[in-house]
């Protein structure tokens, strides 16, 4: 699993990458009450605002971690946004994307580097 400075995690599944937010981010946001997902089959560039998450406190944007195409979104989150608090790094994945350049994953943080980043 890889991590971004924006508190997203990425997990490769074949040529697809699954993306969500970290446990640390979910805890910092507080109880999540609203998720707005992009359409599947959307071309995105790194740092595009692709998802809106609102907690009891505030709205936050989730940015595209890398260039690519969003191929699937987790529709279950729309009806049950609190899943992100309950299971942020597994069941509450947010979208899946096909990277333009899969090798860009290598430059992201590993778990130890992310732990140091949030320490």
């Amino acid at each position: 699993m890889k991590f971004t400075e924006e508190h997203e995690w990425l997990r490769a599944e074949g040529d697809i990458v699954v993306v969500g937010i970290t446990t640390h981010a979910a805890e910092a946001l507080g109880e999540i009450v609203f998720v707005e997902l992009p359409d599947a089959d959307t071309e995105v560039a790194k740092d595009d605002e692709v998802v809106v998450i609102e907690s009891v406190k505030a709205a936050s944007d989730i940015l595209a971690p890398l260039d690519g195409e969003i191929v699937e979104v987790n529709e279950a989150l729309v009806e049950n946004p609190g899943m992100i608090n309950d299971d942020p790094q597994e069941g509450a994945w947010i979208f899946k994307m096909k990277l333009s350049d899969p090798s860009e994953m290598d430059a992201l943080m590993d778990e130890n580097a992310y732990k140091a980043h949030i320490a």
Binding site: G30, E31, V33, F34, E36, V52, E54, V56, K57, A58, A59, V78, P81
Partner: protein, 376 residues
């Protein structure tokens, strides 16, 4: 930046694991480990303890010794019947300015030989200066610095507080008493700002932690932060000064006409005589151009303060703005309030809010969003 002030409960908040944030110059708990939503629900279902010691506590005494003279003096600053507040009763009030705007909202209690006021933290210095400037001929103004203020809110609050004082169970909404709690005289009112039954307790600073710990030791009671306080008051349709009301909104525009007693309105025995009376009383007679209303978003997206409102999905003219909004944990949906033109203020009117560049539908809705649960 100046140092943040601390209430007598600061160390207790920290020891309870609160997340502290700056609020009105004080370092205050925004939430505890329970989290905003559970704290909100706990208050609606059980009893929540809030530290509201940042708020201003002020005593006004008439120089004549007759509290009615203090009440009549205060009536020159507020459009309420203060002389009509019976002994051991409390009333919601607001200071107005010369243009009919609202300087602050407050509670006024008649405690027999004096009036007791609770004002907002962010406004208290200005309020005190305002009262000293205008009331000093007739009254002595005493700022209470040696007392904390706790709010205990929610349906189990009576059971909890009655363990410490038998006097509080018989109180009705907006009653005030002086009662001994844990060996000290506390000034208790049956009121609050959550839409729930409950109490506000003015307790000497040196007993505040002991009282808070005694209440928190009861199974019904949990500590509640400012985050849940905001969602509770929003669902209850109650205004947050500085967001929903300010110097640019009149009581009529703010839909607070219920708080202005008939005796102060046109034709009343003590009509007018408060700042901005010409503007405010004219609006009582002729209406105002805009009105504060409840707003129920149609979808799940919260519409927060500052969101622009429109009459249709395509119109380019902004008609108003949301002043408070968020997710209502009890309603299980987003809720909001804001100002719209009076002709669009009827309950059920469809309006649109622009959220992240998109026009989302909403409906003008009755407030409160959750039924008030006061002990009448």
């Amino acid at each position: 930046m100046t140092d943040l002030l601390k209430t007598p409960l600061f160390d207790l908040h920290v020891s309870l694991g609160a997340k502290m944030v700056p609020f009105a110059g004080y370092d205050m708990p925004v939430q505890y480990p329970m989290g905003v939503m559970k704290e909100h629900n706990h208050t609606r279902e059980q009893s929540g303890l809030f530290d509201v010691s940042h708020m201003g506590q002020v005593i006004i005494r008439a120089k004549s010794g007759d509290t009615r003279d203090a009440a009549l003096a205060l009536e020159t600053l507020v459009p309420m019947s203060i002389a009509g507040v019976a002994i051991n009763r409390q009333r919601y009030a607001f200071f107005t300015n010369d243009t009919g705007g609202i300087l602050d909202d407050l509670m006024v209690a008649n405690r027999g030989d004096h009036l007791f006021l609770v004002v907002n933290a962010a406004c208290k210095d200005a309020d005190i200066a305002h009262m000293r400037a205008h009331l000093s001929d007739a009254c002595d103004i005493e700022v209470i610095e040696d007392r904390a203020l706790l709010a205990l809110q929610g349906p189990a609050s009576e059971i909890a507080l009655a363990r410490l004082s038998v006097d509080v169970a018989a109180m009705k909404f907006m009653d005030v008493v002086t009662t001994e709690i844990m060996g000290v005289a506390c000034w208790v009112s049956r009121s609050g700002y959550t839409g729930e039954d409950g109490y506000e307790i003015s307790v000497p600073n040196n007993k505040a932690v002991e009282l808070a710990e005694a209440l928190l030791g009861m199974e019904e009671v949990a500590p509640i932060g400012l985050g849940a306080r905001d969602s509770l008051r929003l669902e209850a349709g109650l205004c947050l000064y500085g967001n929903d009301i300010d110097t640019g909104t009149t009581p009529v525009e703010a839909a607070l006409t219920w708080a202005v007693q008939k005796v102060r309105r046109t034709g009343g025995e003590r009509a007018g005589g408060f700042p901005g009376a010409d503007v405010i009383l004219a609006q009582f007679d002729d209406g105002a151009a805009s009105k504060r209303v409840g707003i129920q978003p149609a979808g799940r997206a919260p519409m927060r303060g500052g969101t622009a409102l429109f009459a249709s999905e395509t119109s380019t003219d902004q008609i108003g703005e949301i002043t408070s909004g968020g997710f209502g944990p009890t309603v299980q949906a987003p809720v909001a309030m804001g100002y719209v033109p009076t002709e669009l203020a009827a309950i059920g009117t469809e309006i649109f809010a622009e959220v992240r560049g998109k026009r989302l539908p909403a409906t003008v809705a009755a407030m409160p969003f959750t039924p008030a649960n006061f002990k009448r």
